[in-house]
Amino acid sequence: MSRVAVLEGGQSLERQVSLRSGARVRDALERVGHDVIAIDVGRDLVERLTSERPDVAFVALHGRDGEDGTVQEILELVGIPYTASGPSACMRCMDKVLAKHAFRDAGLPTPDFYAFSQTAFESLGAAHALPAIEERLDFPVVVKPAAQGSALGIRFAPSAADVPAAIVAAFSYDTKVLLERHVAGRELAVSVLDGADGPQALPIVEAIPRSDHYDFEARYEIGSTDFVCPAELDPQVAQRAQALALDAYRVLGCYGFARVDLMLETDTGELTLLEANAIPGLTETSLLPQAAEAAGISFAAFVERVIDLALAREPASTG
């Protein structure tokens, strides 16, 4: 049995979700008999880590700091093994623009997009490029902050007139935004879990929102989205989606576990990659635990495996 520090909370906008993920992880760890320390991540993080000397840290943080590689760098520095991906994979996952570039460079499908920093608009006159972009992407266009989870700040712009306000909203969350072609279709989430034989794609979850689109509320509230797991898909499509998720996982350099979100486009029947989450939600309504369950992996077994993977990894060799 190990002494496990569960890192949770923090100051990101997804703090509450993280606390729920953390509580669930701690509960599972305690049931198995681990010695569990909860650390609400704040100014005293390094102090707590060095004084508590856990054998391993379970990172149950979402959003800024926790999911973007910052906390992982600190863990590398203090030499404590930790769950899930290393700093560079976290950075690539957290920044949708980096992730999409990585997909594109690797020849993986992802919806067309254009990304801009706030500086590009303020100092480089990028606003003049908007009409050209709008022409190429067609409406509706999806406007997203590059680095925000849980669908916060994502807007659909049905027409050109809606684009500026959507961009302003997205810049509330990050200094970089992307305009992406809207893909109408089915929303699929493929969770990936590492194991002795390398990463394995878990059964696919389809999210069917009851409201117009899959927003923050739908994602974390019981009863506002229907989840179907395994998703009812043509076996070949399911296989392709899982293979694509594994490709994405490898391209981004993920470790331990991650969740890859895809769209199955209605018009073309094509699969396309939206994003990957280095530390997907682990709450009672989250998709990865549902997928694991469908694969016969209980939440406790999932947590155990993730801890074992963390301990098996040489801290310095990650990246």
Binding site: D27, E122, A165, V168, E221
Partner: protein, 471 residues
């Protein structure tokens, strides 16, 4: 819980005997989900509420709270009064009390209501656990799922979860500087009648509205009361702030105008003494009051006897008006500071209300700014406000925000508004860069704003800035 009225603490779920350590319910929640009542689907936590949870950090200047100032109540007074309660009535203070409340406390309530020109008998009163419980009891007594409640738009954010929990269909009536537009109310009532629907009650905060800050004019008060009588509709008059007037002459409460026929009155000690006491009251027509009483028995049997005796002692030993005089002076200055800061730091195209009392100012930004998103940006500057959507059930209010000035010191008010101004100006500049428009548009009627909003209903209050109070 509301997003802003209640401080968040570590959740203290029920103890499970035998389990030893604190059991999280999270793990098992999906198992319970199938057992939840349908009404819980309306009881949602939200992204916004999650965001509000991080406003509690010490480095954040929060204008989001619904808090009055409690820091200036002398601790030695609190100690002395509590000692008196212990010495004189220890056993009684520790015991259950009558559901309707202690007679001595009702005498205090009669006094407070008289100070606002209301004549009420002790037998027409029910002491409640905060004014909030009155809203709950009114819904519990009157609302079947789908029943219509008419409220102001915006409405008190803390009433929203109550309305939702009882599955009320809330219709919100636009306001202007003179409060709820009663002529629109009348139109809405006619429309509802044509649809064969009768609202169960009209919910209003006529004086120093939360969150809008405006006060209903005397003419509209009269018209509202007349309307209620003609159509035999109940009105819930929520009046926590009536005694917190900083300028101008008081207006009669609806309850005084109507004589308690169709108006249910909600009062509270929260703003004239302390919200920590959790003591409020309602005055209502007797048949309604009797149902409230039964409803309250089911909810909590009685409100804290200890708290009630504390208030009784406070009224006996002190002049309750003294604290009020002090608070008015304090808040008057804070309001002036907030107004100065808004004028200094917010860009053209921003409007805000000029309350003559109460605790809140309602500011409306250019309609391309979404205050829910803006809050995420503002939190990075360590400042918080309540996004306007919290005051609507239909997605409106997207470009407005509620600012509390009562519970925030003057330095923090100024600095907080400076930070809000910084992020608002940033977004205004960005928007004008994106659209190639004038970064400082002249103040023009909002209806003429050139940019369509995303939601058709998103254009909010035509509340205008006004000099010199609301009248």
């Amino acid at each position: 819980m509301t997003i802003d009225e209640t401080p968040r603490g570590p959740s203290s779920g029920g103890e499970s005997p035998g389990m030893g350590r604190s059991r999280t319910t999270a793990r098992d929640l999906e198992r319970y989900a199938g057992l939840f009542a349908r009404r819980t689907q309306g009881m949602k936590s939200s992204a916004m509420r999650d965001m509000m949870a991080i406003t509690a950090r010490p480095e954040v200047i929060s204008l989001a709270g619904g808090f009055p100032d409690t820091s200036t109540f002398p601790p030695e007074d609190l100690a002395a009064l509590m000692a008196r309660v212990a010495a004189d009535a220890s056993a009684r203070a520790l015991q259950y009390g009558p559901t309707e409340g202690l007679d001595e406390l009702k005498a205090c309530i009669v006094e407070v209501m008289a100070a606002e020109g209301m004549d009420v008998g002790a037998d027409e009163l029910l002491v409640t656990t905060g004014g909030q419980q009155v809203i709950d009891l009114v819904c519990k007594t009157l609302i079947d799922p789908g029943d219509v409640v008419v409220a102001e738009g915006p409405t008190y954010p803390g009433a929203v979860p109550t309305f939702s929990a009882y599955q009320a269909d809330v219709v919100q009536i636009e306001m202007d500087a003179d409060g709820m537009r009663v002529e629109l109310l009348e139109e809405t009532l006619d429309q509802l009648e044509r649809e064969g629907r009768t609202p169960k009650f009209i919910y209003t905060v006529p004086t120093f509205h939360n969150p809008a800050g405006v006060t209903m004019s005397l003419e509209r008060r009269r018209r509202l009361v007349r309307l209620a009588a003609e159509r035999e509709l109940l009105v819930l008059e929520d009046n926590p702030y009536g005694l917190l007037r900083y300028e101008g002459d008081p207006l009669p409460p609806l309850y005084a105008l109507d004589g308690g026929e169709y108006v249910i009155y909600l009062g509270t000690f929260s703003k004239i003494l302390s919200p920590g006491l959790r003591l409020g009251w309602t005055a209502a027509p007797r048949p309604v009051l009797e149902k409230f009483n039964v409803g309250k028995q089911g909810a909590d049997l009685c409100s804290s006897t200890f708290g009630q005796l504390f208030v009784v002692e406070y009224f006996a030993q002190r002049d309750w008006r003294d604290l009020l005089t002090h608070l008015r002076e304090l808040y008057r200055h804070r309001l002036a500071t907030l107004h100065d800061a808004l004028a200094e730091h917010l860009p053209q195209g921003t409007e805000w209300t000029r309350p003559a009392g109460g605790m809140f100012v309602w500011a409306t930004l250019p309609d391309y700014i979404d205050t829910s998103d803006l809050l995420a940006r503002a939190l990075r500057e360590h400042v918080a406000f309540v996004p306007g959507r919290a005051a609507f059930l239909d997605g409106r209010g997207g470009s407005s925000m509620r600012l509390n000035f009562a519970g925030v010191g003057e330095d923090d008010l100024h600095e907080g508004v400076r930070r809000i101004g910084k992020v608002v100006n940033e977004q205004v500049r960005l928007y004008s860069t994106l659209t190639g428009t004038d970064p400082a548009p002249s103040r023009q009627p909002r209806d003429a704003a050139p940019v369509p909003t995303q939601e058709p209903g998103a254009r909010v209050l035509p509340l205008r800035r006004r000099a010199g109070g609301e009248r």
